[in-house]
Symmetry: C2
Subunit: 186 residues, 2 copies
DNA sequence: ACATAAACTAAGCGTTTGCTTAGAAATATA
DNA sequence: TATATTTCTAAGCAAACGCTTAGTTTATGT
């Protein structure tokens, strides 16, 4: 009936995601996506609508990849200890050739403004809240009171957000020390 | 002998700095700077060379403005308590019309890559280290051992970096709770 | 008053941006 | 094998980018 697609949409989105992760949203042009994804601009727009569409799919792909470490946290039974492990796992997850790229979600929250990219921002904040809820779940295993759990979860999120930027400034040893300090009372 | 400048360079840089702070480096175009600074592109290039030059001067301006709160920290005598006050002061400093803009330095570290903007990045990391050294100075007043002081300083920097992003996501009440949690053992 | 030098305005340079379109190539059905 | 339908290539669109230049205005020293 017709010609077949010569590319796999999931496979090219993985490459797009990697590019957005390295360069940020605005600093990734459609021409760069074209080269990295290995397909023509026409195909990009046919498959994903526009640049924002490519990014929204990239977030889904990011979520899929990070499940490798969120699944561990979600199935953990050791309370805050599991969150600490997640921090170390995240550091490893965000690394590419000995270079830390931070978190794709955090990087983009920092870069974009809600007023100008409401759709993207909504997805990012939803994602961010999912991680926080994983922290809440683990903290509940250590039977703190509900209000304190929420405060602790926000505090830990703040440290995770910090790591996204700190990892571009500090050495691996320093980053590991920071994580140790974050969990020093547990 | 010649015509006088019709603008004050320090005054227009303040406006440029505010624009960079709100929008980030790449998302601030020379046309936007032109409007905000109230002078023609020719004047911008005559005074500051190029867009990077405008930004480098904006950092100097930012440093000058943030002295309002770093001076307090630098002259403090209450150890870590002064750092906690600095965190609250920073939150207020970063606010514009009930909207948190984060830290100009942190935002830009997160946005740009060292390989592509080495000059700007060098200034930003120098700036960032100055703040850390203020933390070290205050921590020394509480006589911890030297190695622990450095770890604590990095931990606090991580929380400050985190606040820059967290302030775009969380409410004022939550941000205040995060600061309380950061200093809970002091 | 006049010449001179700096600062102004505004138009425009080449390049890159996100996105579109015209037409050729390829494949599944009839 | 012929036809229909989709995907491909590659050229091109208007707008925005950082930056420059030609020509006018303004103020100062003589």
């Amino acid at each position: 009936m017709a010609r077949k697609k010569q590319y796999n949409e999931q496979a090219v989105i993985e490459k797009a995601m990697a590019l957005f992760w390295r360069n940020g949203y605005e600093n990734t042009s459609v021409r760069m996506l074209e080269k990295e994804m290995g397909i023509n601009q026409f195909s990009i727009y046919a498959s994903f609508g526009n640049k924002q569409g490519v990014f929204l799919e990239s977030i889904k792909c990011y979520r899929k990849q990070i499940r490798k470490i969120t699944d561990i946290l979600e199935n953990g039974k050791n309370g805050i200890k599991d969150i600490k492990d997640y921090f170390f796992n995240f550091l490893e997850f965000s690394k590419e050739n000995a270079c830390y790229k931070g978190c794709l979600v955090t990087n983009t929250v920092s870069e974009l403004k809600s007023e100008e990219n409401p759709l993207i921002m909504k997805e990012l904040l939803f994602f961010s809240n999912e991680i926080k809820q994983l922290f809440v779940r683990s903290l509940q295993q250590d039977d703190y009171e509900e209000v304190l759990i929420n405060k602790k979860a926000n505090f830990l999120m703040n440290n995770l957000l910090g790591l996204s930027i700190a990892s571009k400034v500090y050495s691996t040893k320093e980053l590991e020390d920071i994580i140790e300090m974050t969990f020093i009372n547990n």
